[in-house]
Symmetry: C2
Subunit: 474 residues, 2 copies
């Protein structure tokens, strides 16, 4: 077997999003030699294109703003959105360590805006956002630290398979690399001899951090046939299932693969994640209403979780209209300005004009808004179960803004079963020796659906755990 | 490798429920030599203990009774209950062949009662029931036919693993057999030499028909943590996941494993399937109401699908009371008589007495029933979406009967992906050569939830397809 391996290291990390890089930093800091492999030409995965929201109970911003929260409360919100499919031990661990994860990013130099958002399904405002909504700055901070630590990141390396020995222990990986890497990619290590197929031995362990399968049309259609290629995705094109399936092939336990999350804030008039989505997520849903243009009426609690809101729009069968007034629009002025230019958001002097523009039944929108505004002055929940909070204000200050919303595939909460040590579990409920996983490739934490702002802290919490335990594997 | 195999046959069938035996009959009739292996001491799996209901559009009883139906209508009902997770091509095939499956059982000598039931989620009455609710007579008919055909059924043989060659083709199975079989079990073939581990070569193909995992607490808790050992199951104790996982280990595609169906008609005062469940399924839900004892009010459309009804009871957090009057109780007099003796069903002269016995708020039950009875005279749906049908009659004829209902795990709609030829699909969306599957071990047909009476016809439809195609494998 001496010829089988091209090279070796202590810990191999597959994937360079927030989970993989967190694992790499911790593994190196624990004394292991580490290599990170990324299949795309650039590092960062979906973290790079994310809006940079991190939800965590008792985070520094909540403390600054005097918001009371607790890990127990966070757990309860997560379990409610997950419909009880969540693995309670993972949720508990995540909730207790999420705030630490935020602080850790600050120690890496990541800066946050002064805002504290409350997204659908969260019972208090607990989401902090990286400055300029720039998820990529988290990746930059992490890759800078890895550079300091001397950890090579090899781009353009795709996982072909996990290599196991006769006992089932993961001993390394088989990777395909593209030509350009062999020549020398910008942030690629240059100490591996050029070849197309590389076998790398892991003397301690392998950490899978390959992300979700939101862009894998064949795989997701298999799990949920209606989510075919007519449904857009917010994910980068590399969000495919080969990391997940590599682990399934060595008998990892799959969890919740058919629970594929759609983002209700997907804008029907742009492709991918886009800026319209940001306006909808940060402004329309927290401060506005969602209306079915066929009736002019609301269809859902705009603060419900993503699954409930997406289902409401899908059940309507056509794009619905997110509406916010001038006051509410101030929560997201940058994306508003950008989207008004491109026509993704339209501006109206009156609700009447807005209703007419979308062919709503005459005066229906005015009635809907009048009823809504009346409710904002009342103590109890409305008929959709929406609870009035102190921040709610009536929709009354023109101009009014409208955006057409149609859900997009955003996140795959299902994946590999892990335990609280981030060990990948097999079909017989035992850990697979030598294999850890973290981030969207795993399942069980979010169950039926993930709350907003929970992906990045989850990647960091479990990425760090995976990295530390991989380094400690003997 | 000559020593590796203990013996060989053309087609190996694993499992002896309706799916496995249907496959065995068809494979033998297509000219193949066939062996059936069953892990338990008795044949029949869950089919043996089922109530023997078969739902099929355009079946012979519908024709006798003049009920209009169609495969398209059946598809629509199935897709609605499956929340669109169903694989449409499988649903379409199933709906078109279900009535043939019923006729085929009649050709084997199975007899049906004159009743035609409409279960929750079905839009018309389309369920026929084997005489005396005796699923085991279907097994007897099938084993009789196999005896005529000379097909051996080896009991007490558990599948350890599927054997594949270097190309990934399934070439046989490895089985463990218990001591008693080696001695000679009643319906076991005696031509295999006694040993604990047996390798059987399949010269054409293997058909997996190992059923669901409703009794596999570890596996189901992994997929849905709340379904732990505090929740009873209607399944036999052998309904575990080893057949499913044997296929996953050779890279079969898993579907919908977390969608585990609970039977809303589970009786809180008996273990397993029981006779109370039959009374609830055939009498209470079709002709009565379901009431939360804490409020005295109804909680759900009693004709909704199983998932909706089970969720309603689980959300109540305690057993709810199924109530039917004397008229409605005539639909299931045998189980009524039996359950009155054992106290699983209680009889009351008045609604007032019934409400008092379950500590319902004073007069709440009378109000609930008065409202319900009024609705039975109205044309539209009630507030739960329940549609009045011609058969609905008011609850007014004493005595009244009450049964405490708490859902039980009944069926696992998830499992292995198959195509319309019953070939097992792999993680790369290609059929696994030499491997077919049918029945509850497969997934994709029912999606999020199965309608009542659909398991047996599905086993027969896909079992027959699997058997024919296995026999035709070269």
């Amino acid at each position: 077997m001496a010829d089988f391996w091209n090279t070796s290291t202590d810990v191999i990390i597959i994937g360079s999003g927030a989970a993989g890089l967190s694992a790499a930093i911790e593994a190196r800091q624990a004394g292991a030699f580490v290599r990170v492999f990324e299949k795309r030409p650039v590092t960062g995965g979906n973290t790079r294109i994310s809006d940079g929201g991190l939800s965590a109970p008792d985070n520094f911003m909540q403390k600054q703003q005097g918001v009371t929260d607790s890990p127990q409360r966070f757990c309860k919100d997560i379990l409610r959105a997950g419909l009880g499919l969540n693995h309670p031990d993972l949720v508990d661990l995540f909730a207790r360590q999420a705030s630490d994860a935020v602080d850790w990013t600050r120690s890496l130099g990541v800066r946050y805006t002064a805002r504290l958002d409350q997204f659908g399904g969260h019972s208090v405002p607990r989401t902090v956002t990286i400055e300029n909504n720039a998820g990529h700055t988290l990746i930059t901070a992490m890759t800078n630290r890895l550079h300091q630590l001397g950890v090579p990141i090899h781009t353009r390396h795709t996982l072909d398979r996990l290599v196991t020995d006769a006992s089932g222990r993961v001993t390394g990986v088989c990777l395909s690399c593209s030509e350009k890497t062999s020549a020398a990619a910008p942030d690629s290590g240059t100490d591996i001899s050029p070849c197309r197929i590389r076998h790398i031995r892991a003397d301690r362990a392998v950490v899978l951090a390959t992300g979700g399968f939101g862009s894998d049309v064949a795989f997701r259609t298999c799990q949920a046939p209606r989510l075919d290629d007519t449904i857009d995705s917010t994910n980068h094109s590399g969000a495919t299932a080969e990391g997940l399936t590599a682990a399934l092939k060595i008998h990892a336990m799959p969890l919740h693969l058919s629970w594929i999350q759609l983002g209700p804030w997907g804008c029907a008039d742009e492709s991918g994640y886009g800026k319209g989505a940001r306006f909808a997520a940060y402004s329309v849903f927290p401060a506005g209403i969602l209306v079915d243009p066929f009736t002019g009426g609301r269809i859902v609690n705009e603060w419900a979780d993503r699954r409930q809101r997406s289902d409401a729009i899908l059940n309507a069968g056509h794009a619905c209209i997110g509406i916010v007034d001038h006051t509410g629009a101030q929560k997201e002025v940058d994306s508003l300005a950008s989207c008004l230019k491109t026509g993704k958001i339209r501006q109206f002097d009156s609700l009447s004009d807005l209703g007419t523009a979308f062919n709503m039944p005459a005066e229906s929108l005015e009635q809907t808004v009048a009823e809504y505004n009346l409710w904002t002055t009342c103590p109890g929940p409305d008929r959709f179960g929406k609870d009035p909070k102190t921040k709610t204000s009536p929709l009354e200050t023109p101009p009014f803004y409208a955006i057409r919303l149609w859900p997009k595939i955003h996140y795959t909460p299902g994946g590999l079963q892990i335990d609280t040590r981030a060990r990948v579990m097999d079909l017989s409920h035992r850990p697979i020796p030598g294999l850890f996983a973290a981030g969207e490739v795993t399942g069980g934490i979010h169950g039926a659906g993930r709350l907003g702002g929970c992906a990045l802290p989850e990647c960091i919490v479990f990425g760090r755990i995976a990295g530390r335990n991989a380094a400690a594997t003997g």
